[in-house]
């Protein structure tokens, strides 16, 4: 695409690092708890609690104590959202799922995703690193899905392969898109000018505001 979007990851973990086989939890339709576990002949068994209509949730969970939940999930590509400061000082790692653009069936939806018209989705071009730079087979044209973010402990995160990373510019763009996702349609990419009605690029307006021309 002619822009520097991906790079080889640094030795230390940084925001924008892309990891393989990251867990992506599906939206829970019900809360199923793992009850008390029993070990017999080397096998661990446990009763599942909280299934609607069958079992009550564990009392400890209702009292605010920790419980274990059965979570439907898949292992797929993910990108680290956690900022550098929090990476250095905290154990949590927020990972957003990457999904292939081909999952979107209609061409108009793919087009809207690329153009940034879905605030929950952030378009990703296909990585163009050479085989010399990255020998690992990577993902195809994709998108980050901000609706599915998982927090991992650093111990689990550090076991994941990090074959590629976003450039600094790509991380900034990703963060801006994430902000659009959280605050919704207040931040548009284009809007009509209040005076003349001409459609204007919002980002350019913001840039002009922040860096006014000398004659201003």
């Amino acid at each position: 695409v002619g822009i520097a979007f991906y790079k080889i990851p640094e030795a230390t973990v940084r925001p924008g690092d892309v990891v393989a086989l990251a867990p992506s939890y599906r939206a829970l339709k019900e809360l199923v708890h793992v009850g008390q576990q029993q070990t017999s002949k080397g096998q661990v068994s446990a009763r599942l609690l909280g299934v609607p209509g069958y079992e009550e949730p564990p009392k400890a969970a209702l009292q605010g104590k920790d419980t274990k939940l059965v979570v439907p999930a898949s292992l797929t590509w993910g990108v680290l959202l956690t900022r550098g400061c929090d990476i250095d000082q905290g154990p949590q790692r927020q990972v957003a799922v990457l999904r292939p653009l081909s999952l979107l069936q209609e061409v108009s939806v793919k087009e809207a995703c690329i153009r940034g018209e879905h605030s929950s989705l952030y378009y990703l071009p296909k990585p163009d690193l050479s085989a010399d730079e990255c020998s690992t087979p990577l993902f195809d044209e994709s998108f980050v899905d901000f609706r599915f973010i998982v927090s991992l402990h650093k111990d689990a995160f550090n076991k994941l392969a990090r074959p590629v990373s976003f450039t600094r510019d790509a991380v900034l763009d990703l963060y801006f898109s994430w902000m659009r996702h959280t605050i919704g349609p207040q931040v548009k990419r284009k809007a009509p000018c209040g005076s003349c009605g001409t459609e204007m690029e919002i980002f350019q307006v913001a840039e002009d505001f922040l860096q006014p021309q000398p004659e201003y």
Binding site: L21, D173, F176
Partner: protein
């Protein structure tokens, strides 16, 4: 490298060797075939997602490819529309990044570290 795997049709699933199904047209035939087709598809999708490449990487497996189970054929016009969207995305990328950098430059120093909560460790 794994390629796209099309979702199997009922007829394809029924025609696989070693598959014993109720005779076509009898009660339960379609349900039986549909169930088998779903199982087969899950198996194929799983092999594409976490297949041989994962094993070759040892303790740090990686994905070789996303499953493209919903891939559709695109017309020339569709491809042109997507190419135009990609070009527009690339063109606006730098402008967005410049804006972000300008907006962030005065705010970074004022951010306070996130407090550490013992239970989260």
């Amino acid at each position: 490298m794994p390629q796209w795997v099309p979702s199997p049709s009922l007829d394809q699933a029924a025609a696989l060797p070693g598959v014993k199904l109720a005779p076509a047209g009898t009660a339960g035939y379609e349900e039986q075939v549909a169930r088998f087709a779903q199982r087969l598809w899950r198996l194929l999708a799983g092999s594409v997602t976490t297949g041989s490449a994962a094993l070759e990487q040892g303790s740090r497996p990686v994905l070789s490819l996303f499953p493209s189970k919903f891939a559709e054929s695109e017309s020339v016009e569709d491809k042109q529309r997507l190419e135009a969207a990609r070009a527009e995305w690339a063109r606006s990328f730098s402008a967005r990044v410049d804006t972000m950098r300008a907006m962030l430059s005065n705010n970074v120093a004022s951010d306070s570290p996130t407090p550490v909560i013992a239970d989260d460790e």
